[in-house]
C-alpha cells in the first residue's frame, strides 16, 4: 500500500508515467497529458461497467430514500396507513401476489395490512440514515485515532493499538444486544416514550463505537510509512507544528484508502442494522425498517403472500450488493495496483 497515488501537490513523475501507460496506451507515444490521480481514478471508474451499474442502483436507492415523503404524497398513501379491509380473515392480502395492484404496487403486508412499497422506501430511509451517519462518525474516529497513533508512536501508539485490539476482540452482537435496550430504558423515565430518533441515535452510537477500528489500523499503517518521507521531514525542518504535518501534509495523502474504507463500511452498516432489527433490538414500530420487514415477512413464506418476504429481502440484498460493488470499484480505480 505504499504506492498509493499521492495528492496533486506531491506526486512523483514515475507514478504518472505508469498511470498514463495503463490508462491510455494508444496515446502513450504522443505528448504526455498531465492528469491528476483523481482524474485518472475517474477515468478508470467510468470504464468499469460494474461500477456504473452499481452506481446507478445506489443513486436510485438514495433517491427513493431521500424523496420518500414526496413519493408518499404523489402515491397517496402513507407508511402507517392500514388497509385491513383488503385482507382475508386470516390476514392474507386479497388478490394476486400478496395484493399487488395498481393501488398497491408491491402489495400489502400480511396481518397488519400496510402498503409494502411505502414501508420499503421509508425503511430504506431509516437504514440509509443510520448507515451514512454511522460510517461517517466511525471513519472520522478511526482517522483521528489512526493518525495520532501512527504519527506520535511510543506510548501513545502502544496504548491506542492495545485499545484498538481490545475493541476488535469485543463481541459486537452480544454487546449490542445487551447495551441498546439498557441505554433506551435508562435514558427515559418509566412511562415516557423513547422517541424513534433517540433509538436511531443509540444505534448509530453503538455502530460508531464498534466501526472505527479497521480504519484506525489502516490509517496508522499508512502514516507509519509516510511520516518518514522527505516532504514530512522538510516540513518539520521548516518548523511546521504537529497539527500542520498531520492534517495538511499527511492526511491529504491517505484520502483514497479512507474513501474506500467509507464506501465499504456503508453496506456493512446497512446489513448490521437490518440484523439488529431482525433480532428486535433495533428501531421499533411505528418507525418503518427493512430488517423488521424481513423478520415479519419470513413467517409468511410458503403462503400466497411470499412477496412479503421476498421483496424486502431482495431489496436489502441488492442494496448491500450495490454498495459493496461500488466500494470495490472505487478501490480498484483509486489503487489499480492492489490485487482484485
Amino acid at each position: 500500500m505504499s504506492n498509493t497515488p499521492a495528492a496533486a501537490d506531491s506526486r512523483s513523475p514515475s507514478t504518472e508515467d505508469t498511470a498514463v501507460a495503463v490508462v491510455q496506451p494508444e496515446t502513450a507515444a504522443k505528448a504526455f497529458v498531465g492528469r491528476s490521480p483523481g482524474q485518472l481514478a475517474w477515468i478508470r471508474l467510468k470504464r468499469d461497467r460494474t461500477a456504473f451499474a452499481s452506481f446507478i442502483t445506489v443513486v436510485f436507492f438514495i433517491l427513493l430514500a431521500v424523496l420518500a415523503p414526496v413519493i408518499s404524497r404523489l402515491y397517496g398513501i402513507t407508511a402507517t396507513e392500514g388497509f385491513s379491509e383488503k385482507l382475508t380473515y386470516q390476514g392474507l392480502p386479497t388478490g394476486y401476489l400478496g395484493g399487488i395492484s395498481g393501488e398497491h404496487w408491491l402489495g400489502l403486508e400480511a396481518g397488519i395490512g400496510r402498503d409494502l412499497f411505502m414501508q420499503l422506501i421509508f425503511g430504506m430511509r431509516t437504514s440509509l440514515i443510520i448507515a451514512f451517519l454511522s460510517a461517517t462518525i466511525s471513519i472520522v474516529l478511526g482517522v483521528i485515532l489512526g493518525i495520532v497513533s501512527g504519527y506520535f508512536g511510543g506510548w501513545v501508539d502502544q496504548t491506542l493499538t492495545w485499545f484498538t485490539d481490545f475493541m476488535l476482540a469485543f463481541p459486537f452482537l452480544v454487546f449490542a444486544l445487551a447495551i441498546i435496550p439498557i441505554i433506551n430504558t435508562a435514558s427515559y423515565d418509566v412511562g415516557e416514550e423513547v422517541p424513534g430518533s433517540f433509538r436511531i441515535a443509540v444505534i448509530i452510537g453503538v455502530f460508531a463505537l464498534f466501526g472505527w477500528m479497521t480504519t484506525a489500523r489502516l490509517v496508522r499503517g499508512q502514516i507509519l510509512s509516510l511520516r518518514e518521507r522527505e516532504y514530512v521531514e522538510a516540513a518539520r525542518a521548516a518548523g511546521a507544528g504537529s497539527g500542520h504535518i498531520l492534517f495538511k501534509q499527511l492526511l491529504p495523502n491517505i484520502w483514497a484508502p479512507i474513501l474506500v474504507s467509507f464506501s465499504l463500511a456503508l453496506p456493512g452498516f446497512i446489513a448490521a442494522e437490518a440484523a439488529l432489527s431482525f433480532l428486535n433490538i433495533g428501531v421499533v414500530e411505528p418507525t418503518p425498517d427493512l430488517g423488521r420487514l424481513v423478520y415479519y415477512g419470513r413467517q409468511w413464506l410458503g403462503t400466497p403472500d411470499w412477496a412479503y418476504f421476498l421483496i424486502p429481502a431482495t431489496t436489502v440484498f441488492i442494496a448491500v450488493l450495490a454498495f459493496n460493488l461500488l466500494g470495490d470499484s472505487l478501490r480498484d480505480a483509486l489503487d489499480p495496483k492492489s490485487s482484485k
Partner: protein
C-alpha cells in the same frame, strides 16, 4: 418463543412459489370469525353422572398410540406444581382429582365426581364444609388402593413454601388467608402436623373453610387434589415421574426429549366417568416448535397421521389449512383467555373518553394481525365461562365506529400513552392500534416495555400509562376467577396489581360480594349481568377479542375436540382410527 431462522433449501422455495404464487387470494366470508358454541357448563347434581364407565364414543376403537408434538418439556408433571394449560391437559391422564370435567364437544361441560362419588356435598348448606367420598376400587399404578389419606397428603404438599407454583385456591381457602403457608408449611417442613381444615377418615375427605366457598367443586378439579402415595413421594424427582392414578402411567421419560405413557393396568374404567382411554399409549415428543409441528401434521405423512398438537397453528401455516382435507382436521374455538386493553381510570377519568375508546376500536383489523384465529369479543368474560352472555355495550360494528367516538369526544383531540411488552407481534398490534385510534382523533404514544418486567411496571399503582395491554384466563369455567380478581377495587395494592384499570367502585364491589355468596348454580347469570353493567356504566377496559385455539390432528386421530376446561384437544375421548 423466537424461532430459528433456518436456511430454506432453494428447491422447497421454488415449489412453494409454484404452488402458491400465482393464484388469486380471495376472501371467503364463510370461513370468517366463526362464533363458537356457547358454554352451558354446570355442576352435576345427579350422582349417576359421576359413575363410570365413560360413555362410549361413536366409531371409536381401542389400540394404537397417539403422538403429541410439543415445543418444549412440560414445566412440571408433579400434580401439586402443575398450573400451565399443556401440563393441566396432560395431567388428566395420570393424575385424577376429586372432581373432573365431563365433556362431549358440544359445549355442555359438566363437573362430575372423578375420584369422588359426586361433585361435592355441601354439608351444612352454607358452603363452609364440603364432604367428598372416594369411590371403591381406586388404585395407584402399583396396585395399592387410593385412600382419603393419599388425597390429603397430596393437598398438604401444595403448602410447601419452596414450591408456590401451582394454584393456591384450596390453600388460601383452608387457612382463610392470602399468605397461606405461614404456620403450616407442608409435609416436608411441618412433618407430622395436620393440614388446617382438611381431614380424612377412611374414604371420606372433609374440607372445612372459615369463609363460605361455594365454588369448591371447581377448585378441587385442579390437580392440587390429586392423590400422592406418601411412601412413593420422591419430592423433587416426583416432577419427572409421578405415580399414576389415571389410565396412563409413565413408562419412560427422557427429559426434554420424549415421554412414553402406557396403560396403567390398575386403572378401572368402571370407576371413571370421564376418560375412555382408547389408545394403548401416548407418546409426547419435545423440541418440535409450533411451525414444524403444524407443517408436519398438515403434510400428514404416514408417521404423523396419529399426531396432534397443543399449540396454535402459527399464522404462517394457517393458509395451508384451508383445503377441505386439512380443514376437517382443524379444531378451532375460543379459549378461556380474553385479550383486553385496560384503561387506567386513575388517569383517564372522563367516562366519555373511555366510551369513545370502546367505540373506536377496530377489532377486525386487530384480529387479522394475529392471523384471524381469535374471535371478536366485547365482554369481560369469555364464552367458555358458565353464564356467558354475548353483548357489545358500544356497538360500532366489526371495524368500530370512529365517527361515534369523535362525537363523544366533542371535537377534542386527545393524546394517550399505550404500554405493551416489546415483542414483535405486540409491536405490530400496537402499531395497528395506534393507526385505528388515529382515525377517531385519538393519538397514541407507544411505550414498548421490557417483556420480562412488563407486569411489574404496569402493575404498579400510579404508573404513567393510560392504556395497558393485558389478558386474563379463568381457572375454572366461572366468572368468580375473573371479575373479582380483575375489578374488585379493594384488592388494589401498591405493586403487583391485576386490576390494571385501577378501577374501584363501591357499587361494583358490593355486587361482587353479593354474587360471591350465591351458589355456583345461581351466580353464573349474575356475573354476566355484572359484566354488562361494568362495561356499560364504567367502561374501565376495552375487551379486544377472545383468544382462540386453532389446533390440528393427523388424519388417523378421532374423537377429540377442544376441551372447554383447559383449552386444548382432549385426550379423554381421543382414539386412533384403524
Amino acid at each position: 418463543m423466537r424461532r430459528k431462522f433456518g436456511a430454506l433449501p432453494i428447491g422447497v422455495l421454488t415449489v412453494a412459489l409454484v404452488a402458491s404464487g400465482c393464484s388469486e387470494t380471495t376472501n371467503d366470508p364463510a370461513g370468517g370469525n366463526q362464533q363458537s358454541v356457547v358454554q352451558t357448563g354446570s355442576i352435576a347434581t345427579d350422582p349417576a353422572d359421576s359413575q363410570g364407565p365413560a360413555k362410549a364414543v361413536e366409531g371409536a376403537t381401542k389400540g394404537g398410540t397417539v403422538k403429541l408434538l410439543h415445543a418444549a418439556e412440560f414445566e412440571h408433571l408433579d400434580p401439586q406444581k402443575i398450573y400451565v394449560s399443556d401440563a393441566l391437559s396432560m395431567a388428566t391422564q395420570f393424575a385424577r382429582t376429586l372432581t373432573g370435567y365431563k365433556e362431549d364437544g358440544t359445549g355442555a361441560l359438566k363437573l362430575v365426581g372423578d375420584l369422588a362419588t359426586n361433585a361435592g356435598e355441601d354439608v351444612n348448606g352454607d358452603c363452609k364444609v364440603w364432604k367428598y367420598t372416594l369411590k371403591d376400587g381406586l388404585k395407584f399404578e402399583d396396585g395399592t388402593p387410593i385412600t382419603g389419606a393419599d388425597v390429603v397428603y397430596g393437598v398438604s404438599r401444595s403448602f410447601d413454601p419452596e414450591w408456590g407454583v401451582g394454584p393456591t385456591y384450596i390453600q388460601q381457602w383452608l387457612t382463610g388467608a392470602v399468605e397461606y403457608n405461614t404456620t403450616y408449611k407442608g409435609p416436608f417442613q411441618s412433618a407430622g402436623a395436620e393440614v388446617p381444615g382438611l381431614k380424612a377418615d377412611g374414604n371420606v375427605i372433609t374440607f372445612t373453610f372459615p369463609q363460605p366457598q361455594c365454588e369448591t367443586p371447581y377448585a378441587v378439579a385442579m390437580p392440587t387434589t390429586a392423590p400422592v402415595p406418601q411412601a412413593k413421594d420422591t419430592k423433587g424427582d416426583y416432577d419427572r415421574k409421578p405415580v399414576s392414578s389415571g389410565p396412563y402411567m409413565i413408562k419412560e421419560h427422557a427429559y426434554d426429549q420424549y415421554i412414553d405413557f402406557v396403560r396403567n393396568p390398575n386403572w378401572d374404567a368402571n370407576t371413571d366417568p370421564i376418560r375412555n382411554a382408547y389408545p394403548d399409549g401416548i407418546r409426547v415428543e419435545f423440541g418440535i416448535d409450533a411451525e414444524a409441528s403444524a407443517n408436519r401434521i398438515v403434510a400428514n405423512a404416514a408417521d404423523d397421521q396419529t399426531a396432534f398438537m397443543w399449540a396454535n397453528v402459527p399464522a404462517a401455516v394457517l393458509s395451508k389449512t384451508n383445503t377441505p382435507e386439512v380443514k376437517e382436521r382443524v379444531k378451532a374455538g375460543p379459549s378461556q383467555y380474553v385479550e383486553y386493553t385496560w384503561i387506567n381510570t386513575d388517569r383517564v377519568t372522563d367516562l366519555k373518553v373511555r366510551q369513545a375508546l370502546n367505540y373506536a376500536v377496530d377489532r377486525d383489523a386487530i384480529i387479522k394481525v394475529r392471523g384471524g384465529t381469535d374471535q371478536f369479543g366485547s365482554t369481560i368474560i369469555s364464552p367458555t365461562i358458565a353464564g356467558y352472555e354475548n353483548f357489545n355495550a358500544y356497538d360500532g360494528g366489526p371495524t368500530g365506529n370512529a365517527e361515534k367516538a369523535k362525537e363523544l369526544l366533542g371535537g377534542k383531540t386527545i393524546k394517550l400513552t399505550y404500554a405493551f411488552p416489546n415483542v414483535p407481534v405486540r409491536q405490530q398490534m400496537a402499531a395497528k392500534t395506534k393507526e385505528v385510534y388515529a382515525k377517531a382523533g385519538i393519538e397514541l404514544v407507544l411505550t414498548p416495555l421490557d417483556p420480562a418486567t412488563y407486569y411489574d411496571s404496569v402493575g404498579t399503582k400510579g404508573n404513567q400509562y393510560d392504556l395497558i395491554r393485558g389478558g386474563w384466563g379463568a381457572d375454572w369455567p366461572s366468572a368468580s376467577t375473573v371479575i373479582p380478581a380483575l375489578l374488585d377495587g379493594r384488592t388494589i395494592r401498591d405493586k403487583g396489581n391485576q386490576n390494571l384499570a385501577y378501577f374501584n367502585n363501591d357499587e361494583v364491589n358490593k355486587e361482587i360480594d353479593r354474587i360471591k355468596g350465591l351458589k355456583a348454580t345461581e351466580s353464573a347469570a349474575e356475573w354476566a349481568k355484572l359484566d354488562k353493567k361494568i362495561m356499560t356504566d364504567f367502561a374501565p377496559l376495552i375487551p379486544q377479542y377472545y383468544i382462540g385455539n386453532y389446533e390440528i390432528t393427523g388424519s388417523k386421530v378421532g374423537g377429540t375436540f377442544l376441551s372447554d376446561s383447559y383449552g386444548h384437544l382432549t385426550l379423554n375421548t381421543m382414539f386412533v382410527k384403524p
